[in-house]
Symmetry: C2
Subunit: 205 residues, 2 copies
Amino acid sequence: MPAVTHPVPAADARSHEILASIRQAFAEKGFDGASMQDLARAAGMSVGNFYRYFPSKAAIVQAMCGYDLTEIQGEFAEIQTSDRPMLSLRERILNHFSEESLKDGQLWAEITAAAIRKPEIGQAARQMEETIVSLLTTIFAQATRRPLEEARVRYEGQCQMLVMLVKAMAIRTAQCGPASPALAAEVVAVIDRLLAQISNDTAEG
Amino acid sequence: MPAVTHPVPAADARSHEILASIRQAFAEKGFDGASMQDLARAAGMSVGNFYRYFPSKAAIVQAMCGYDLTEIQGEFAEIQTSDRPMLSLRERILNHFSEESLKDGQLWAEITAAAIRKPEIGQAARQMEETIVSLLTTIFAQATRRPLEEARVRYEGQCQMLVMLVKAMAIRTAQCGPASPALAAEVVAVIDRLLAQISNDTAEG
DNA sequence: GCCTTGAGAGTGAACGTTCATTCAGCGGAT
DNA sequence: ATCCGCTGAATGAACGTTCACTCTCAAGGC
């Protein structure tokens, strides 16, 4: 197995399976609310064996972040190879609002709260956001035909705004149910304005 | 004492004192992370006595929401009686970004996570948001000289967007530290556009 | 003046439960 | 015979909650 530079290796298939099966239990009970017994039961194994995979709850969250991150990187790879990356990006973002985000929002609410309390988790969560910002930047650089470094400083605010908005919507959906059409329209308008602003900001004209 | 219609009376002075003194401890340890012993110690009293004021952790959060809500209602009252309510509102919103929001963001991250898990807390949190939306609506109705009912349906999306943005920024600040100037500029731009849009939407021209 | 009363604020030990964590031991493969 | 993946009972600490108790003090009878 190649040594990974991530803070948590956890890349093996079994860990992924376990992570997938405890995801819901973890989201429903929260970081402190979910006991190791709960999680082991959700994973369908004994407590002792569970400890062989995740020595602490923080490790679970870190691994979960890593897991989600690779998924997101895959999504971005698809976006980048599509023929209209900016449109494809928009579509994926809006997709996050309509479906499945109930579970995701709950999980992210928990992770966010835990990230503020536990430094190790905070680091993982922050690294996740930074990576997403970086992936967005790559797409924006491509779309505007600007060097990556220039795009980084030029679109920093927009990237962070996008990440914050998507996360806020996911959490809000988990808390209040699907957004009202009025709110959805407002959010889409902000996102569209933001993306259009970047699309019209190409180098050389 | 007059009967209050709020779900949680908790309006007496001693409860307020206790709430203020456990606020930080609660935010730092989280809903499940903070034990009743922790909270009693933070309040400077014995466990037994603490239970006389708050029979459960959910009751603490509910009372905390009620407490914050009256504070916010006071703020809105000041805004409403100022000579330029829309400007005053803008100022107050931006104020929330610069200062003190570290502690508030942490607390709100905790409350949000807990709100998804525990229905009683979810109700309190949702009621809080609804009240704020309602207060915003009142100001917007006044500024546009429209009847309240019309303003309610007309500005629903904008109000919810504002609440979501302010909360997201507070939580983000607690997690990542003060926002970069680029992000701050982006958020302020969205808010200004939103407020300007409403200011220019007066009835009769 | 002085004693009695009782209600309100406060205490902290005690209860049974659940927690994170460990580890002696199990069956099946080699 | 020996490894290996796995089990689940065991451990002590910490948990939420209760309760018998003390302290303080104002009211009221004598």
